[in-house]
């Protein structure tokens, strides 16, 4: 099973009590609590940690993007991919992902991903996401159009990568007179496409139909299996066979020399499960963003909110894995047995988890966990 290192590049250096005063850390928490001085140090630190993860032997480095939130100040997945394309050597660069519905220029997106693929020597895995509702607010893109724009933006990007230009695109949401990008990906026909999921059956079915790698984020095993069933349904419609290489899963994970230290470090992930996901439903799922089926599924999938679970419950339920390398290997192996996946994505960092702890975890993963998992 392949392992991926992921840092959400948080900016948690503010008094928690200040964040608690607002309806949500996303959208509502004022950026007067953003410190350029701290962020400057953090970016260097986070990029160093990515470099270390590459050197430690992680199969991939996952990069994402959010806006208007201290939970993730990586505001451009493609910019980070461009940096890591240059500073890393071996790991795949898993952009998971570009938020397609909020893009106004899919051609530029196709160019940027292609450029990262070229600079990295063909290491890009290009993830496409619909985004949480917060991103629709941030971009002021009508959430009613989220799925339509996701699919049309995807179609245009793929056409940019696979059809010689110049050509014209007159869709419903995107209109371009001259499409002729002078920057095409190294990988042919294009970088592999990945798609995450948390609640939308339609997305899982679509990803299966398209044959893309599908990764549920921070859900229970039971929900992940249901989403994989939707994925298989889509794959079957298209006559595709689903191999474990097409299935992944994302959890939070940290390892340390002792169990006590690992459990202490893992406690930092609770912020990400709770406070950063707190807020009115309208922020995360504005009107029209979800279909009725997805709303019903989300209600069932999140019958117990992550923010209501204790640290112990989060560990018990495998949302967080924290232990010695041996313990971590054992728990990762269990995840693999439960889900039959080929890729395990590890959110492995939080800004209050100090650099030394993060680096030690990366180091131990490289020495013990990655080799062990490669054998499984």
């Amino acid at each position: 099973m392949k392992l991926y290192y992921f840092s959400e590049m948080p900016h948690h250096e503010y008094p928690d009590a200040e964040g608690d005063k607002y309806p949500s850390l996303r959208l509502a928490f004022p950026n007067t609590f953003f410190s350029p001085e701290i962020a400057q140090r953090n970016y260097q630190r986070y990029l160093d940690e990515y470099d270390a993860a590459d050197q430690a032997g992680f199969d991939g480095l996952m990069i994402n993007e959010h806006h208007s939130t201290p939970s993730c100040v990586n505001v451009s997945a493609n910019m980070t991919a461009g940096i890591l394309a240059r500073t890393t050597r071996n790991a795949k660069l898993l952009i998971l992902g570009n938020i397609l519905p909020i893009q106004d220029n899919p051609v530029q997106m196709a160019e940027q991903v292609a450029m990262a693929d070229l600079i990295s020597g063909g290491r890009v895995l290009s993830g496409f996401v619909r985004g949480v509702g917060v991103e629709s607010w941030w971009a002021n893109t009508n959430p009613i159009h989220n799925r339509e724009r996701f699919e049309e933006c995807h179609d245009l990007i793929i056409k940019c990568w696979t059809t010689p230009g110049p050509f014209r695109w007159e869709g419903k949401h995107y209109h371009f007179r001259h499409v002729n990008p002078w920057c095409l990906p190294l990988q042919k026909p294009h970088p592999p496409i990945w798609v995450p999921g948390t609640a939308s059956p339609e997305t899982a079915v679509w990803a299966g139909r398209m044959g893309y790698t599908y990764v549920p984020f921070l859900v229970s095993f039971e929900v992940a299996r249901e989403l994989f069933d939707f994925y298989r349904q889509g794959a079957a419609e298209a006559g595709r066979t689903v191999t474990e290489d097409k299935l992944g899963f994302l959890i939070c994970a940290v390892t340390a020399d002792t169990k006590a230290r690992a459990l202490e470090a893992g406690r930092h992930f609770v912020w990400r499960m709770g406070p950063t996901l707190r807020g009115p439903a309208e922020y995360f799922s504005p009107v029209g963003m979800r279909s009725r089926a997805a709303s019903r599924f989300a209600l069932k999938a999140r019958s117990v909110s992550l923010s209501k679970m204790s640290y112990e419950e989060l560990v018990e339920s495998y949302y967080i894995v924290a232990g010695t390398p041996d313990e971590v290997v054992e728990r990762f192996a269990r995840v693999r047995r439960e889900l039959g996946i080929g890729h395990l994505l590890l959110e492995a960092q939080e800004s209050r988890m100090d650099h030394a702890t993060t680096m030690r975890s990366i180091d131990l993963m490289g020495k013990s966990v990655i080799p062990a998992m490669a054998r499984i």
Partner: protein, 263 residues
């Protein structure tokens, strides 16, 4: 009185319409909350007018119109509706986004318009303040912001007095989705509308609640300046829904105006 309910096909799109009363026709266009049925103010006005109160496409049980992108589409739709109904000249009354729709219709076809009543219409960017972002709030938090004092609404029990049934909740969600489809960006206004409003010479009554927390009263001032023949009446102790907050006073003002009173 009891209105009759009809389903009217406008092209391929069928809309539900409440029709009641007798006299010169009055087309009533509802706001983002949807068609709340036959209201108390309508009883009084229907004594002198035939009221046509359709449910917009995408709202209530009317057909979907996912192809629509803005209020100008809804305005063209209702001009077509008038053709279908054989109504060559009407009084037009719209509330909130229905008022915006009415204003757009008036700029497109001033000739079909007798008198125009705009009740707290959206459609213009406020010179001061902002139109409240209704999509930012859960519906239960939005309602108290919509009215000045819910306890004084005569029809409160019938309209708001119980939890919605699953069917009603689905309709409320549908109404909200269609409103988002029509008004998301620019939010609740058309930057081109002010340039066309001077075309509307019909006598126009602008009605606003002094305590409107959804659409600032300053928008009423803007409409009054842009429309050549308009009067602005501001109701005290009233929020965004004069039609239900002060139905008797509202009906009286509308009747006086439609009777030919000064704009």
């Amino acid at each position: 009185m009891t209105p009759r309910e009809e389903t009217i096909a406008v092209g391929p799109t069928r809309v539900e319409v409440l029709i009641g009363g007798a006299g010169d026709p009055l087309l009533v266009l509802h706001g983002a909350g949807g068609n709340r049925g036959w209201l108390r103010w309508m009883d009084a006005v229907a004594e002198r007018h035939t009221i046509y109160a359709p449910t917009h496409p995408g709202f209530g049980r009317s057909d979907a119109a996912d192809w629509m992108e803005g209020i100008d589409d809804l305005a063209r739709f209702y001009l077509w509706f008038l053709d279908v109904m054989g109504l060559s000249r009407v009084h037009l009354l719209g509330h909130s986004i229905g008022g915006w729709t009415a204003a757009e219709m008036a700029t497109m076809r001033p000739d079909v318009l007798d008198r125009l009543v705009l009740v707290a219409p959206t459609g213009l960017k406020p010179e001061r303040g902002e139109i409240l972002d209704i999509f930012y709030y859960p519906p239960e938090e939005l309602f108290p912001l919509t009215v000045f004092d819910a306890t004084t609404i005569p029809e409160r029990e019938r309209l708001f007095g119980r939890r919605p049934t699953p069917d009603e909740a689905e309709i409320a969600l549908r109404n909200r989705e269609m409103t988002a489809r029509l008004t998301w960006k620019p939010y609740m206004f058309n930057p081109r509308l002010p340039h066309f409003l001077p075309r509307v010479t019909a006598p126009t009554l602008l009605l606003w609640g002094r305590e409107d927390r959804i659409v600032p009263v300053v928008c009423g001032e803007q409409y009054r300046r842009l429309l050549p023949n308009a009067t602005l009446r501001v109701l005290e102790r009233c929020g965004h829904m004069p039609l239900v907050e002060q139905p008797d006073r509202f009906a009286e003002l509308v009747l006086d105006f439609l009777r030919g009173g000064p704009a």
